[in-house]
Symmetry: D2
Subunit: 386 residues, 4 copies
């Protein structure tokens, strides 16, 4: 196989998981602008996700968010997904929207609230059993707003205890992916604020526990690709929540704010063997003002383009320049791949996959957007349920 | 008058405006935790504000937010305020919660939306006429989320045009206070992102237009007291929205995150003559997880304590050390005031004002919290209406 | 002229000024790593700058830094420049390396130090007279390290007074470019920390005073292209100091850290008419670990590439999508230009200019690097003189 | 023992290590302002450190920096220290000032440079043997400036290998303290950028390897006390490098920029049992513009004051409020201690220790500053040797 053929082969097998909640309404604390045609239930979300996969060819799975996607019959949901050409992916827990969680969930000072939170996580594992999902994705809104509000260290103890109980419940082939986040919704402390904290907990839990990197969850100036490289080196990178940001956790389309950063991240993934491993590539975004399905298609394409560029890096030339300490040449080798316009290559790959080479145009032309606006009238639009 | 007597006199005349919306529910995009006893209408908000003033003695005015505080009869509202010992303060506009404002208000690409936004601002001036308010406080959520989404410069032109129309409408003694904010809810550009932008617009508008400094609206590392000193020097400091933050616009209690910063700000206010001028000292906070009335009392007290410390700075000793270039001594003079425990002094001042020296305890003892929980049952709790 | 021809014509006339100090040694507070072959005097710096222009065709001027580039005979220096195909550009002042400047220069509490600083600035205008330079570029290291150390407002008064005296001295066609910087070397306050401060001073000084945007001098999260658009709208953008940064004022090669940001900046320049105006495009970089001449060539090329992409934006399509409020399409139009690989176009432009299409390779092949290493032996290498 | 007596007892046993290099000249990349009277060799540094301990009573040890403090006879140096009432503390390595270290030291792509770096670290352990020092403090300037410059993961492998060799060399009772730093002098990647990286390496090395927290080495918005609490919980907090910062690694006097943060850190130390353990409390500061000895005395006092406040927190009341979920009360308990003016208490403690209650005044009065200015004439002043 020629090198270009290998790059194309890798691109054909890429899989980016889309999040069910990105198909619903979202917003900021100031306002949620509802959009016409938004799904009213998990089944309609899968319908939309099916469209994204139909036109991109690389979005075969859909993450659920419990309780937003709770249904009576998960077998029916899985079947509906299959019918649309997709599968159920990771199960995301939610322990931040019940009134009991005002001061935390799994780290709450009150044992009864902690019990409730852990029970919810166990319920999620049960749903994974039903859907065949591999990954339980855990993000905790837990933290404090004021110095002194609660004891930092005791909260870590409670966190460890809760995670251990859930870890024990995991079945063969199931994993726990622990996400960290600098701040929001808590403003003084966050109980899993950085990769170090997530890593330390996962290390103690065991092989099935891995860290999730959400690209919007870092302090300004943090070198995310360094974290990616380190976690891959430690065998502890579970996956990504891709999105982009200018300031905080903006949840914009992946690659929209800093495409060079996304490329650098994907380069470390490729270099660290993460592309052909069990790392989960997921989106986690909020399309507050733009059309949701096309925004997700664009995001998937942005990840694809960054991946293509990363795959095109001339590894030999790079290694040689690095070994020589030739700063400018090593940088030039990397930039040469980044500066390449990979869109023609991706159009080719899509053609070979039997897809329209232009997913955005093809989606716009297919009439789905108009159809759902016309048909999805009445009922309760899906949203974050805040 | 001795120096200490002058400090006490200044403290007795201090006035911190509380925001009507801080008495209602608030939260993050993830969840609004409703609290029992929260006001259901502007009249009940004034009842609560009256309690804050009753116990602190330095919170005589209450800012309104339109449309959240829209009533049929503003004379009745003013009378109700007077009855509770307070007055209506600034009128805050809201051009971010109508569906039309998805892509902006006064900067929107569509002239019809801009018209609607300006009309709302003019309505707010009308309310000021009715309530006798001096200040129209303008904060715009306008901005864009993606590069290219709209034209940065054209949006500035639209902003200038809209502001000019509203400025023309201002009556004798009325002012326009323009607030800036780094980001949120827009994530790529914000149309008034920094003090420079607000200042440039106010300069062109004229004498009645001034800049508002919200202490939570800056990039990390921004020296806020420098901006305060500069705006006072230019005669363009209109007022403050006090709150505190660790990361972004956290809207925590003033002085909670960085009491030393609040002190430095108040020192520049005192040094620049802002304390005895027309600078408006307002709070703008969100009490997402803590009790609202006591949190506001605490915030008012924190501003008081910072002010007391600022007033205690030995100006002569400071000037002498600065003139000598004695870095350590100049710093020591400032820190000497900061390190002073001013709580005994403030207890004294309160005693002289006929108040309980301990506002928090006195409020807790008065039974108001229990009373409103018992009585304010049913109806729609006040909130941000997002 | 076709559109592409217009783009090429614009690219042929581009002019990026290189800084004399970038040809000398530089480093961090921890270490300056000296490089073999570095110039020993301003004449040798011009020799190197001549090479950069010879191979790029778009670096026709060289900025001086006084006193580092002080010579007895500026006519001889100008003649030497002309001989190498370049001209003297802006004159940069230095009021931060004399022991007297420990607590500031033009803002120092001691009038004698201020006098000395202003005299230096006046000397720089004299050098401009001698070299025919248009621009006096002012960056002040002034500031304080500790709260209380000096009076913020008095320092502004001193700054205004000093600038006014220098402004008066400017001749016909001469300009004063005032640079702002968030921090470093002062850590608590900086006397010109942001564009608002620089703008306010320039406004009062008059038409000849304009603001310089150094792309590394902002707080994290600052939207630089917004500032560029605003300053152009106000007629107050004097020029750029290009470089790039990940954290603070890293002074890396322009476009190396965030090429997308450089493109967005250049897009606002083009959109605001800044490309065909008197805006000065300068580099200000430190090549601490990489070869200096090739690093400068690379930087010039990076600016060129960003400019080419900015010129390729389909302005009509963009305006149409913006007017429609089509967020995704407007963003797509911009990204379409950014994602274009403009290197073939630039190779073509260079060919038409009679240059080697590959400046980096051509420079490496010409032997200059080896030549200066061999010849520039002995003497005192140029550096920052810290 | 009463509670206050216990607080005083704790304060009497506090030990803050001062760094030998803080007695010498330092500066920024722009300028080092030399000060009269600065030590010319390690013996004179110890003389100054002796004065700091003489007046504060809580600065009994002095950290060395090799090669800056390399001497022929370490026994003589130790004896000189003892003579001045102090002891040699941690040994700090330096692998960033030799020309070979342009691209790194222990992580350098060239094995020969790595060998040299490791040999230097081994030399430092040898010096520890000679001085009886417990701690080897390692800070690496290693990193890269440009994407692609070197391989992130390979550098981690090299780091691990080098550290392992040095760890093996540690004797009984000796420790390796690994410091992390976000950036500077490297601007793209830093090989030990955060506590997670330092922790992961220390974990693999073993019990004798611990993490050092330099309070100026974090990204904006990082909650340092959270890291302190976490490392204490993991048994991996080796010590502190105290200093303060507004922006980057400003190295200002401890407690000068954010005294509330220093208090919160010391509170977590007390709460986590770190105060009476083997955690090393060290200063690492640069007194670029202020007098060095008095600045160090002030810093020691600032750490003392923060410690006193932390010790005064009413732990029972705090725990009760936390258990109740009483956000405002818990915060109030903490703030009550912070708002206390502890200077009278510390004056008392000093009196009981036989010290002058006012160290700054006592030092100024003792004439040491004038004496060293008069006597330390000629020779080479100590500095960073950059």
């Amino acid at each position: 196989m020629t090198e270009l053929a290998a790059v194309k082969a890798a691109l054909r097998t890429q899989a980016v998981e889309t999040p069910s909640w990105a198909y619903g309404n979202s917003g900021t604390r100031f306002k949620v602008f509802a959009q016409a045609g938004v799904p009213r239930d998990p089944f309609e979300k899968l319908d939309d996700a099916g469209k994204v996969h139909e036109f991109t060819g690389v979005a075969p799975t859909v993450a659920l968010h419990i309780p937003w996607d709770r249904v009576d019959d998960y077998a029916a949901l899985s079947a509906h997904a299959a019918d649309r050409g997709v599968r159920i992916g990771a199960v995301n827990s939610n322990t931040f929207q019940d009134d009991d969680y005002r001061l935390g969930s799994i780290c709450h000072p009150d044992a009864a609230v902690r019990r409730k939170a852990v029970d919810h996580l166990l319920e999620c594992v049960g749903i994974m059993d039903a859907t065949g999902s591999r990954d339980l994705k855990l993000w905790f809104a837990d933290g404090t707003n004021y110095p002194g509000q609660d004891d930092i260290r005791s909260r870590q103890d409670r966190l460890a205890e809760g995670l251990a109980e859930v870890y024990e419940r995991l079945g063969e082939g199931q994993r726990m992916l622990l996400e960290y986040k600098l701040f929001e919704p808590a403003f003084y402390t966050t109980d899993v604020p950085d990769w170090g904290t997530a890593y330390a907990h996962c290390l103690k839990l065991g092989e099935k526990a891995k860290v999730v990197v959400d690209t919007g969850h870092h302090a300004p100036g943090t070198n995310i690709e360094f974290i990616v490289a380190s976690l891959l080196r430690e065998g502890k990178l579970g996956g990504f929540d891709f999105n982009s940001r200018f300031y905080a956790d903006d949840d914009l389309m992946a690659g929209a704010a800093d495409p060079f950063q996304l490329f650098r991240i994907m380069y470390e993934v490729v270099r660290g063997g993460g592309f052909s491993s069990d790392v989960a590539f997921m989106l986690d975004q909020c399309h507050n003002i733009e059309g949701k399905i096309p925004a997700i298609i664009r995001s998937v394409m942005n990840v694809q383009e960054a991946t293509a560029k990363a795959l095109l890096v001339d590894a030999e030339a790079l290694a040689a320049a690095q070994a020589d300490g030739d700063v400018l040449e090593a940088n030039a080798v990397l930039m040469d791949a980044y500066n390449t316009d990979v869109r023609p290559l991706l159009r080719e790959v899509r053609g070979e996959m039997g897809l329209d080479p232009e997913p955005m145009k093809a989606y716009r032309a297919c009439g789905w957007g108009e159809k759902v606006v016309a048909e999805r009238v009445g009922g309760q639009q899906a949203g974050w349920g805040a």
